[in-house]
């Protein structure tokens, strides 16, 4: 969807006037439009994202200013020339050093560079062009392709690891992610450099990828789990990876090794094993403990799990190893090539507080079964704060996906709608998981699986979730129905096991704004406790500043 230039100029002029305090005393060196609309995607719900480059030696926060003009949401960011230049050159340098270095670049940085290179100049095109030339479209395309290639390889290996541990659903989820990102790498090599995932269907068309390959890809992507065994599904996935030029993933379980993680140690107290992971401590039951005692670092998981007593005992041991890895007690490595960098996060088990979630948007819930007016929470303060921040994040994620879904539905972008509805359910699952103190959050790929595995969900909710996860959307009517269903699921997941959360409705602007304000309360506590902030949807450690920025961009 494109907007005409004079309309954009007029919007920018209005924005500049509204942001007099910020822009009245400093003249931007250049102004550009970035994001979906600049890239030629987008729909009538898409935001208008302006960036003003400031070259006066100051370093601005990345916090955007949110405006509502002409019935559109407009975001304005100020970016220093130094920072832009530094980040572009860093990408260039990483590209020269090879794929390992490119893989180290954060998603956020690569995306900032990509959005700049793919931008639409509003003011001072020559200035913008001279900065863009520091990296250039070609180099950026290669960096994006390499970044996705590495991610596809790592997640593909993780899928193999999950299959080695007989975690079939997890293996399916990860091979899907892997193939999806291999496709992103493939189109990036063909000029489609935009990082965001939701437009992949349009990118495949624009890059004129072989129609048959695209069809095989979507067939694979939307295949229902009952249609083939996990091992066949992985075979298909790995074949697609190769077609998308991603090598280094093979169905060889001997390659999947268990190795140690920093901060993890083993302590037996009496007859019981306790595993320390930084400041968290886990108690193992006897079955888990027996498997834990068998672990020899840097050994194939299947070798550790092998139990000559019975196939069932081996399967049980594999389940335990998978749990250890999800809890961040062991790391999974790919023989000779280090840790599989797909799921670095050591998440946790639900807090044992009965059926109700412990944490809500407005703080901790009191235990209904205790009459005490003052209750010691069964969770360290920092964990509470981290879970609270993540709960806020996930709620923002839900609302962003809802907006994207609405836009896609109105524009009839059905593949995009399918993607954004799934994203909505994944982020709503994260809300529910965070409510139970599960932090760091699992990656998006696993959010639904982990919610199904760990939380007390009723069967009708599970069925509804599975519908969104697997149903292909062929018409607007069906899209409308699933959109409403997704809204229902979100409501249920938000209220899981407890009273309705305040604010009762996230649909009203005031309710939503209030939720975001509570987010700042969480940030205050988390900052005080030096807690970990999520850097992005894909995890990692962010800063309090970035957290505030993210919240600021959510008030709408």
């Amino acid at each position: 969807m494109s907007l005409n230039h004079s309309f954009l100029l007029q919007l920018w002029e209005q924005s500049r006037q509204q942001l007099y305090a910020q822009l009245g005393q400093r003249q931007p060196s250049a102004v550009f439009l970035e994001g979906s609309i600049a890239e030629g995607f987008g729909n009538e719900r898409s935001d208008i994202d302006f960036v003003a480059i400031i070259d006066d030696g100051t370093e601005m926060a990345t916090m955007p200013y949110i405006l509502f003009l002409e019935n559109r949401r407009v975001e304005v960011r100020l970016l220093s020339r130094e920072r832009l230049q530094r980040e572009l050159l860093q990408v260039k340098e990483a590209l020269n050093a090879g794929i390992e270095s490119v893989a180290q670049i954060s998603w956020n940085q690569l995306e900032r560079c990509q959005r700049f290179i793919g931008c639409l100049p509003i003011e001072n095109e020559a200035y913008i062009k001279s900065l863009q030339d520091l990296l250039g479209k070609e180099s950026l395309g290669r960096a994006v392709a390499l970044w996705f290639e590495d991610f596809a390889r790592q997640t593909g290996r993780y899928a193999v690891a999950m299959l080695a541990l007989e975690q079939d659903d997890y293996a399916r989820a990860w091979i899907k992610t892997s193939v999806f990102h291999a496709a992103k790498s493939f189109v990036a090599q063909r000029g489609e450099r935009y990082l965001g995932s939701k437009w992949l269907s349009l990118q495949l068309d624009r890059a004129q990828v072989d129609k048959k390959l695209v069809q095989r890809f979507w067939d694979f992507y939307t295949e229902k789990s009952q249609d083939s065994s996990a091992i066949d599904y992985l075979h298909k996935g790995i074949a697609l990876l190769e077609e998308f030029s991603v090598s280094g993933v093979e169905l060889n379980f001997e390659k999947v090794l268990a190795d140690s993680r920093a901060g993890v140690s083993t302590w037996q107290i009496g007859r019981h094993l306790h595993i320390l992971r930084d400041e968290d401590i886990f108690r193992l039951d006897d079955g888990s403990a027996r498997v834990w005692r068998r672990i020899i670092w840097n050994t194939p998981c299947i070798q550790i799990a092998h139990d000559k007593r019975s196939a069932q005992a081996t399967t049980d041991a594999k389940n335990h190893l998978a749990d250890f890895s999800r809890a961040g007690l062991i790391s999974l490595c790919w023989g000779g090539e280090g840790e599989i960098r797909a799921r670095q996060l050591g998440t946790s088990c639900p807090l044992l507080t009965g059926k109700a979630a412990l944490i809500s948007v407005d703080g901790a819930r009191l235990s209904a079964s205790s009459p005490a007016g003052i209750q010691l929470l069964p969770v360290p303060a920092r964990r509470l704060a981290e879970a609270g921040v993540e709960l806020t994040w996930a709620n923002i994620g839900v609302e962003n996906s809802r907006e994207d879904s609405e836009g896609a539905l109105r524009s009839g972008q059905l593949r995009v709608l399918q993607y954004t509805l799934q994203r909505m359910i994944q982020t709503a699952s994260m809300v529910a998981l965070a409510g139970y103190g599960i932090t760091p959050q699992p990656p998006l790929e696993e959010a639904v699986l982990e919610a199904l595995r760990l939380l007390p969900l009723n069967p009708s909710l599970v069925e509804a979730i599975q519908r969104i996860e697997t149903e292909s959307i062929h018409s607007r009517e069906q899209g409308q129905e699933l959109f409403e269903l997704a809204g229902q699921i979100v409501r249920e997941l938000r209220q899981l096991g407890g009273d309705e959360q305040f604010p009762a409705s996230f649909d009203t602007a005031s309710g939503w704004c209030e939720t975001v304000m509570y987010g700042y309360d969480w940030i205050n506590l988390a900052t005080h406790l030096n807690a970990r902030f999520p850097a992005s949807a894909v995890g990692g450690r962010g800063s309090a500043e970035e957290a505030r920025d993210l919240l600021a961009s959510s008030i709408g």
Binding site: Q268, R271, L273, L276, A289, W292, R294, I296
Partner: protein, 360 residues
């Protein structure tokens, strides 16, 4: 130089020989039973039998002998030829395993050392410069600082091995007073190499931790603040070679090969806890520990192995190597917890440390 090395098939002996050969020295290895001389990483050092006279530079010659016999068990002519052709003696042979009859330590460690002193001192014309491998643990059980000049402090000993090494070092010191040019080298507890913990001979600390980490003995009398001083074999061998090559500067002195980061037992526990299969031993004060409360296999392991090393779990001696540094300045490439982690990892990798049962 032609150097006579005793204990050539031992850890320190073989590693020192490999380095000395590389430096172009000729080595005559006195071996108890003619066998292969293998370095710590398993490399076989090619050799031929010693038949008298001087060998070629970089050549390893072996001669079968016995420290427990007069004349080292050699025929008189060969003894004479060896004595007249050797420029240095490196005496590293010793019985180091614990739990053997006392008279064995006496015969090998004490009387054997006396025989080597005689060999070096009775060379017609001049004494043969002599390097003696002692141990840090001649310090015995007395706490406090133990420097290079310290020796007889009226200390008690934790084992017949220690006592025998103390007596042997006394003989060396007496010979020194009588004109034998000597250097005494005292290594701390020798463990696997500093690169990845490689070790071909598991003994001492390995034997103890094999049992405790497997959970076969859970409780040991000891103090969490007691320290064990471990040093990597490669660094010890470098130190011995430095003593040999700087003999004139080192002559008359004692060199300490101890680490800068002795490990407190609580730190050793920290390292143990990094291995999922390891049990972490409990250290309880001696006065509340009663081994007779143990049952079956645990008691047997305790009595037959752990009790031999018990004294090490309460020692708080501080070793210093200040004056060693002008002869051998290099610090151990790995020490403290880092070294211990490598040592344990290697022992796990080769299957020396393993749980025989997976019951917790």
């Amino acid at each position: 130089m032609q150097i006579l090395v005793t204990g050539a098939s031992g850890l320190v002996g073989a590693e020192a020989i490999a380095r000395l050969l590389k430096a172009g020295h000729t080595i005559v290895a006195l071996v108890h039973s003619v066998g292969n001389i293998v370095t710590n990483d398993g490399t076989l050092l090619p050799s031929r039998p010693y038949t008298g006279g001087r060998g070629n530079p970089g050549e390893l010659l072996t001669v079968k002998g016995d420290l427990q016999q007069d004349g080292l068990g050699l025929d008189a002519e060969l003894y004479r030829q060896l004595q007249s052709s050797v420029d240095r003696v490196l005496h590293s042979a010793a019985l180091t395993s614990f739990g053997r009859p006392e008279e064995r330590y006496e015969a090998i460690n004490v009387a054997g050392t006396q025989r080597m002193i005689d060999f070096a001192m009775k060379k017609p014309g001049a004494c043969i410069p002599f390097i003696y491998i002692s141990t840090m643990y001649v310090c015995g059980e007395r706490p406090g600082i133990f420097s290079e000049t310290a020796f007889d402090r009226g200390q008690s000993f934790g084992s017949p091995y220690e006592a025998s090494k103390f007596r042997a070092e006394s003989l060396i010191r007496k010979a020194q007073d009588n004109g034998l040019p000597t250097v005494i080298v005292r290594p701390a507890i020798i463990v696997g190499d500093s690169v990845d913990g490689t070790m071909r001979k598991f003994d001492t600390i390995y034997a103890v931790y094999r049992i405790t980490t497997a959970g076969l003995v859970r409780t040991i009398p000891g103090d969490y603040g007691a320290t064990l001083d471990i040093v990597p074999i490669d660094w010890v061998a470098d130190g011995v070679v430095a003593a040999l090559e700087n003999f004139s500067q080192a002559q008359g002195r004692t060199l300490h090969l101890c680490s800068d980061q002795p490990l407190a037992l609580r730190e050793i526990n920290d390292v143990c806890a990094l291995f999922p299969s390891f049990s972490v031993p409990r250290f309880v004060p001696g006065h509340v520990f009663h081994s007779y409360g143990m049952k079956g296999l645990e008691k047997r392991y305790y009595d037959e192995v752990i009790s031999l090393y018990e004294s090490y779990f309460r020692r708080q001696t501080v070793f210093v190597r200040d004056s060693t540094r002008d002869i051998f300045a290099k610090a151990p490439p790995a020490q403290g917890k880092e070294l211990l982690h490598k040592v344990f990892s290697y022992a796990v990798k080769v299957g020396y440390f393993r749980r025989t049962t997976h019951e917790i």
